[in-house]
Symmetry: C2
DNA sequence: CAGTGGTCTAGACCACGCG
DNA sequence: GCGTGGTCTAGACCACTGT
């Protein structure tokens, strides 16, 4: 038999998916809902937690629980983004970039294959779609190979690597490691998602033909609306074919 | 100031990562821990929930809380697995396969590009590493193109597609869609993971050179120890165009 | 300030695993 | 049966958001 919180979650989920509760709507307060459902506030909150994990509800401290806007799905196109632009053509993404100079340490040294203390440029990018945080990226580039002209441009998290490819038309290898985890508290607040909503974490390392790593990107996408797509064309005789 | 449950989680996490609590160890009962930390059971349980989400602790109803064995990391190699076998060379994976005949419905029809009711063979695979559930796969193949000899073999979730490639040496396209989410209750119990531990869900669709979809695989990997890796070798002389 | 969610308590009762 | 975790209660007090 379903537990109380499952029943409540199911009921609220129904009301959301059948649009009786519409995106942006504020739910009754937790105290009111608890009274309506004849449960304690703790039980009601655990029901809401399930809906948060599914990305249906967003809690805002001091304001209430809101039905999330069903945002456009985010598609991250793997393989170095060569096949097509991955943003929807009509997507209006606003991107904030914070550029800082840092020095390699910890995992970054291994990713970039540089020694500890190596000077790097960090791009801390947050993209927004209509005020709603959309994705998060930290991109690291060794400072000795980043032309200043490139570094000072606004840099979409998906575009930095493409720009470098354009500048240096050598072959490059891209290695993308994808994992699923819960967000760090900081990531959760930046993306305005619940700490119980899984994120897709992509680590992308780009190397030039000499094997030198020219960029490492740590991307974080909200799991409720992000997919990473990788398309492989197996080749027998002829060269690559474009889709 | 960190909340009580954060302090407790941090303390227990320390005791686990510094091996003062070793893999397989049973923690004191929740009531005992609550007394030790001078908190209520509810607070203590929420601290344990954080550690579950990180994959450090496994709760077993009626038995206790256990420090998880740190299992070998799972690496899923994308790109159709042509470059290398993705299982560690010394991995001892035991795989159970349940083969059933089903008919296409719902999302499957779109994935396989067949009509509703089309006869399919479903492979329901669970792989184990030393009794510990490791990964979960549901693989669907249109029944009219699956040689019986292949279908009756034990079929590792990673190997079915490679086997088909070997049998039919035509070019093939592989499209892998990766997402992060919380497991369904069924997936959580099969993989013996917490329902708050994110999973990496990979949908892999393989097509032959004619564009016919020959296989759809739905893979679920525990997020605390799985990565999917995609490697792309860019070729310059072949005429890629940017944007 | 009033109203909201966030944390926490000190219990109760139920369901599971094992001897 | 006993000890374990799973669910739930009816509060209390704190922190944040708006007026």
């Amino acid at each position: 038999m379903p537990s109380r919180r499952h029943s409540i979650a199911n009921d609220l989920r129904d009301r959301i998916t059948t649009a009786r509760l519409k995106p942006g709507d504020r739910l009754p307060s937790e105290a009111q809902l608890a009274t309506q459902y004849q449960v304690s506030t703790a039980t009601l909150r655990s029901a809401l937690a399930m809906l948060q994990g599914e990305g249906l509800v967003e809690k805002i401290h001091g304001k209430g629980n809101f039905v999330r806007h069903s945002l456009r799905r985010i598609t991250y196109a793997g393989g170095g983004s060569t096949q097509a632009p991955q943003a929807a053509p009509d997507a209006t993404l606003r991107i904030t970039v914070r550029t800082t100079k840092v020095r390699a340490r910890g995992d970054l040294t291994a990713l970039l294959q540089v020694s500890t203390g190596c000077p790097l440029t960090e791009f801390h990018c947050v993209s927004y779609e209509a005020k709603s945080p959309h994705s998060l990226a930290r991109i690291y580039v060794p400072r000795d190979l980043a032309p200043a002209a490139v570094l000072n441009e606004p840099c979409p998290y998906v575009g930095a690597e493409a720009r470098f490819v354009a500048l240096r038309p050598t072959s490059a290898d891209v290695r993308e490691t994808v994992s699923a985890r819960l967000p760090t508290p900081e990531e959760a607040s930046t993306l305005r998602i619940s700490t119980v909503l899984a994120v897709l974490a992509i680590t992308r390392v780009t190397a030039d033909i000499t094997g030198r790593v020219v960029e490492a990107a740590l991307l974080v996408l909200p799991g409720d609306r992000a997919d990473a797509v990788f398309t492989t064309h197996h080749v027998t005789d002829e060269g690559w074919t474009e889709r």
